[in-house]
């Protein structure tokens, strides 16, 4: 039997970017949600459009400095971005192997920069205000026949889906382990996918029942 570390008390569930709001009084808490969402958009474009190690590092540093200035609690912020750090490390390592260290570093850091920036915005903005800002920001799309309220809700739900997916993955892994099947993708990936889809459907249905799309 494999030895496993003794299990401590359960950590509070990872709540994901949308659930991370921390009341505070930093300058970022006081800036309206509109400029923050716009800033996030500009940063996103910069990260994707600008290449090269120097700019990548500069953008990452600016983002980290912003996060520090928002005075977010270190522990829960780290916990929120930890899964992304691991993902970024894996993706970056793969790119180092495939295309060399410069590309690897750039890809990994870009990912961390984007997620950290999104986390800073959601952690200093109430979800309710964020939705309002998105509805306003997406307003022009009304002219091409799209509904800003529905789009904003979809973006909000995408952010919210991440912790749900992680929870599903954990549950499915535990169920598979209970049956001694944790290495069998049929017992892990398939049920996780099925549940993720079922969950998305039931959430969509519940929103429809509450008249959110009406």
């Amino acid at each position: 039997m494999r030895r496993r570390r003794a299990q401590g008390p359960r950590r509070p569930p990872w709540t994901g970017p949308l659930g991370l709001f921390h009341a505070g009084s930093s300058w970022l808490h006081r800036v309206g949600p509109g400029p923050k969402v716009a800033g996030l958009g500009v940063l996103g474009i910069a990260v994707v459009a600008l290449t090269g190690v120097v700019t990548t590092l500069a953008l990452a540093l600016v983002t980290v400095a912003t996060a520090v200035s928002a005075r977010l609690p270190l522990r829960s912020t780290t916990r929120a971005v930890l899964p992304v750090l691991l993902t970024a490390a894996t993706v970056g390592a793969y790119q180092v192997w495939q295309r060399g260290p410069a590309v690897g570093l750039e890809v990994g850091l870009d990912l961390v920069t984007l997620v950290l920036a999104a986390t800073v915005v959601t952690a200093t903005t109430r979800a309710d205000e964020l939705l309002d800002a998105l509805v306003r920001g997406l307003g022009p799309l009304r002219r091409v026949g799209l509904r800003p309220e529905v789009l904003a809700m979809a973006i909000g739900l995408m952010l919210r889906a991440v912790p749900g997916l992680l929870q599903t993955a954990t549950e499915v892994r535990e169920a598979a382990r209970a049956r001694g099947l944790e290495r069998d993708p049929r017992a892990t990936l398939a049920p996780a996918a099925v549940r993720a889809v079922a969950r998305a459907r039931s959430t969509g249905e519940a929103l429809a029942a509450r008249g959110v799309g009406d």
């Binding site: 659930g19 979800a127 909000g156 929103l207 029942a209 509450r210 008249g211 009406d214």
Partner: protein, 245 residues
């Protein structure tokens, strides 16, 4: 007032494996045979085996499911052509509150429901707090929803739906996942509501308190009326095992 006029629901189900070889296509399954009834009583219960069609019946009433034949009217509004108006009148509570709660905190989740009333944010938040206080959740208004117990989450789901004061509340097995204590809390709350309530339940005591009980079996309403007879019939059906399971 809820009116079902020959309302039936069918769906396409994948062909069974043994039929595929013989050129079998998707087959049409009946989720609810055409049903006609007028529901005006204040407390209506729906009981029946798992898979009998209870949820299908409940979902017809706020337009989550549309009838494949016939029609469903709520205070004269047709669920097929006037869905938004129907959903303003009919609130729907699901078995699993996790599917229903979408915002990070209770106050924001209730405020989400209030968006459709066209209130600004300050008004929404103030009203959401009032609603939460009425449901005994005032102290938990700002906690992460994930930190609430199952019972508290179901209360919150109810608060979110009742915040917009619908005329009718449809509840699809709202207490099935709850322990006895929370079941009592939710039951008492539902009993005290001024709204018309249609309750899908496996709790025969709750069903017996209703004014009118529908028993659904194999996609058909097999009894409609007196609660005592309904419960007796349901027990017979369960004992004989002649159900869809």
């Amino acid at each position: 007032m809820i009116e079902l006029e020959q309302a039936g629901v069918t769906a396409y189900a994948p062909a069974q494996p043994e039929e595929r070889g013989s050129g079998g296509h998707e087959q049409v399954v009946t989720l609810l045979h055409p049903t006609t009834c007028t529901l005006a009583e204040r407390r209506i219960a729906v009981i029946g085996a798992n898979g009998s069609g209870k949820s299908t019946l409940a979902r017809l009433i706020n337009g989550l499911a549309l009838p494949s034949s016939g029609r469903v009217l709520v205070d004269g509004a047709d669920t097929a052509t006037d869905g938004a108006a129907v959903r303003r009148r009919v609130g729907f509570v699901f078995t699993d509150p996790d599917a229903q709660l979408v915002m990070p905190t209770p106050v924001e989740d209730v405020a989400l429901s209030l968006r459709r009333l066209g209130l600004d944010r300050a008004a929404r938040t103030a009203r959401a707090r009032q609603v939460l206080a009425r449901f005994g959740l005032a102290e938990r208004a700002e906690l992460p929803v994930s930190a609430l117990s199952g019972g508290q989450k179901q209360l919150l789901a109810l608060a979110g739906v009742l915040a917009t004061e619908p005329a009718v509340l449809v509840c699809d097995e709202p207490t099935t996942l709850l322990d006895l204590r929370w079941r009592r809390v939710v039951d008492d709350l539902l009993d005290g509501l001024p709204q018309q309530v249609l309750l899908v339940t496996h709790d025969l005591e709750a069903a017996a308190r209703a004014d009118r009980v529908l028993v659904v079996d194999q996609a058909q309403v097999v009894h409609d009326g007196d609660p005592e007879q309904a419960v007796a019939l349901y027990r017979d059906l369960m004992a004989s095992g002649a159900t869809t399971g």
